[in-house]
Each structure stands twice: as C-alpha cells, then as structure tokens.
Point group: C2
Chain length 212, copies 2
DNA sequence: CTATTTAATTCAAGCGCTTGCTTGAATTAA
DNA sequence: TTAATTCAAGCAAGCGCTTGAATTAAATAG
C-alpha cells in the first residue's frame, strides 16, 4: 500500500492508484494485480467495486472534464491575436509539462489521444478536438473568415503540433537539448518564442489568403 | 499463412509478417503466436531462426537505415530557405502518409519514437534526432548562426512538430476535417501551406534575434 | 542410381508464468 | 442477525519459450 492518506475507503484508493498505473503504463500494459497491490486491496476489489478492468478505466474518465477544458480567454472577443496565442501556449505547455509531475489525469488524456485504448466514447476522447475547435474559432475571428476551410484547419493543427511535439518527444528533447525544458524560466522563454513563431505562421496565412 | 509469394523461406516469411504485426500492434502487444500463424510457421520457428522475440524485433531494425535518412537537399549549400523547407515537408509528409498504406518499416520507426520498446540502441532509434539535427544545420546556415542555442533548437522542434501532428493525430484529423489528407492533391496543398507557415516562423525567429 | 548416413528444418505438446476474473468462505460493520 | 466488505485460492486463457521426436533435405557411400 502506498497511498499514505489513511481513512480513504478502498474504492477511491483503487481509483487513485489505477490512475497512476494507467497513466504510466497505458491501459493494456497495466495489470489489475499491480493496481490492487499498490492500493492495498485484494485483487477481487476491482471486480467488487467496478466490475472489471475496462469499467474501472472508464470510471476514471467520468470525473474531470473541466480539467481538460481549453482556456476561455481565447473565446473572449477582445483578446488580441498576440495575447491569445501567448495565453494558449502558456496554458497548453503547463498542461504538457504536468504530464511528468503531478497531473496523472492529464497524462492519461494525452496517452489516450496518442494511443487509444478503444474503450472510450469517441466524443469524450478528443482533447485535441476541443483545442483544435477553439483555435479554429479564434483564428476565424482574427482572420475574418466566415467558413473554416482546409487551410484554416491545417493552420490550427499546425499550431497544436508546435506544442504537441514537446509532449510526444519530451524525452528526446531533454536529451538532445538540455536547458530547454528544465527550469521554470526555460519554460517561460519557450512559451514566448512559441507564441512568436505561431503568430508569424498566422500572419503568413493571412497574407497567403489575401494574395489568392 | 497470408504471404502469397511462395518459394520464400520460413525465415524471411517470419520477418515480413513480424514487421506487419509489430507495426500495427507495437512490440509488447504483438504475440509471437500470431506472427508465426500468419507466417505459416510453427511457433518454434522464431526461436529456431532468431532466438527470441526481442532478437526478432531487433533484427527488423538492422535492415533499413537509408529508408529513414533525411533528405540530402537540405545539406547542400545552395538550397534556399524556401526550397529547403518545401522539400523537407514534402519528404516528411510522404513519410508520414506512408504509415497507413505501405511502408510498415516507417510506421515501426515512428511507433518506436512515440512509444519505445526499450530494446533498441538509443543511437539507432532517433529518427526525430536525425531530422532535428539536419534542420538545425540547415537553420544555422540560413540564419547565419555559429553556435546553436536553445531558441534555434526549439525552432527546429517546432518545425518537426508541425509535421508530426499529422502522423500522431492523423485519425483525429481525418475525422475532424475531411478533405485535408485524402487525395494526392490534398497532400500537395498541405505541404505547400506547411512550408509557407514554417518559412514565416523561421523569418520571425530571424527578426526576433536581430531585435535582441 | 540407389542406399545410407548426416544435417537442417518442422512439428505437436507442454512448461512456467502472467493475465483478468471468479468463488465461497472469513471478517467486519450495521 | 443481517448486510457489506475482504480475503486466499484458483480457473481458464494467453504469453514467451523449450523440447524431443518426426520430417525433410543434403551429403556420402556402395
């Protein structure tokens, strides 16, 4: 048993431990025995409280929702392009960085996005969908576009990708370029530059559209 | 047995099938029994020819090397920034698109990048490392930078990320925005815009550096 | 060319282990 | 007494891997 907080009933102890194990190993590679052992619960506990492994996993995705909501600032009408992009990357990068230390739930969501278990409703999964959709709205407003087209969607995905690579490849990035993601100041600088590059891409798209 | 080409010895039949199965399920989730069954070979075949599952997996990574080499054009001195970025994204996007139909080897490499098996030499793994390093060289030349710093490395990762999101999220992208990655013309347009956005980001970085 | 020996290959069976899950009894709380 | 919870034990299935025999191919001898 590793959950130091006593006086927590077995059910939530299972939930908390399952969250960690699923987040670190993924659904398929996580074993119910390990979850129960680390939670200090008999193996039958999962069946007793949740039915089976899949239901336990799905239960984890019932709770949060607000945890993964994209930042509201982008939807406010008076947010400038610069400020919006800056806020968005600051938000999404803390989100990404959380993955290593702290928020297992976010790691779980990201993992589900990259390597789906196949157990969740398609609607519930898409954080990328949520963030993409918000970006599209934001870009439509600032580029004064009525109907979103392929190019706009692509641009939004591109802006997502600029941040996503820092999650998917964070191990490689740390190894290849130390001093890029270590301290809090590093992250601050990264966000600032990222917003700058993103802004340039958006402006390029604006220019591209007028010249057509 | 699904390998229609007859007169292929058991060893290569195992190799070919293993490639498909590993590529579609990943190392841990792929079972030796399935590989052997689909290859039309007894389960002992893997042990007989390769020793064990891990060695078979590693054997797959002995062959290619040149398959994953980044495009040489970028290292030629007379390649312009525009032309280089365009060529680079054209190359990497066919690479990414291959993943679904055809080159299982590339899918295997990408999978190993995103979800490492832990069985490969670190040196052999890093396609992202290769591509990133080439981009850094390319950018150093065009931005006239002597020593690469955090900002330059970040920019290179950003350029990688712009393409990578189309691999990692290709399922979501296809669902969210049909008509972005279907036909050959779609891809052509995507590459063109991608290069345009990337160019803007690079120029933004150039400007950012002079204004410091 | 045939017969015999030798080596290479294929095979079914199964071992030990881990997986998710079940069960009926023991324990605790109401 | 009754209900809720915990438990050890174990089942069936899948896993990677092993084994010794059966089969086939290759090499050698008559």
């Amino acid at each position: 048993m590793e959950d130091s907080t006593e006086a927590v009933d077995a059910r939530t102890r299972i939930l908390r431990t399952a969250l960690k194990v699923f987040a670190s190993k993924g659904y398929a590679q996580a074993s119910t025995r390990e979850i129960c052992q680390r939670a200090g619960v008999n193996v039958a506990g999962i069946h007793y409280y949740f039915g089976d492994k899949a239901s336990l996993y799905q239960e984890l995705f019932q709770i949060p929702e607000r945890m993964i909501r994209p930042p509201i600032i982008l939807d406010e009408a008076d947010t400038s392009l610069e400020a919006g992009l800056d806020a968005w990357y600051r938000h999404i990068m803390t989100f990404v960085l959380d993955a290593d230390s702290g928020s297992h739930m976010r790691l779980l969501f990201l993992r589900e996005q990259v390597d789906p278990s196949g157990l969740l409703d398609v609607d519930r999964v898409g954080i990328i969908g949520l963030y993409h959709a918000q970006l599209v709205r934001f870009l439509k407003r600032h580029l004064r576009i009525e109907e979103s087209d392929s190019a706009l969607n692509q641009l939004a995905f591109t802006l997502v990708g600029m941040a996503m690579v820092f999650y998917v490849e964070r191990a490689a990035i740390r190894q290849l370029t130390p001093g890029l993601m270590e301290s809090e100041e590093d992250l601050e600088a990264v966000v600032e530059r990222m917003a700058c590059h993103a802004l340039a891409a958006v402006e390029a798209e604006r220019l591209r559209r007028t010249s057509l």
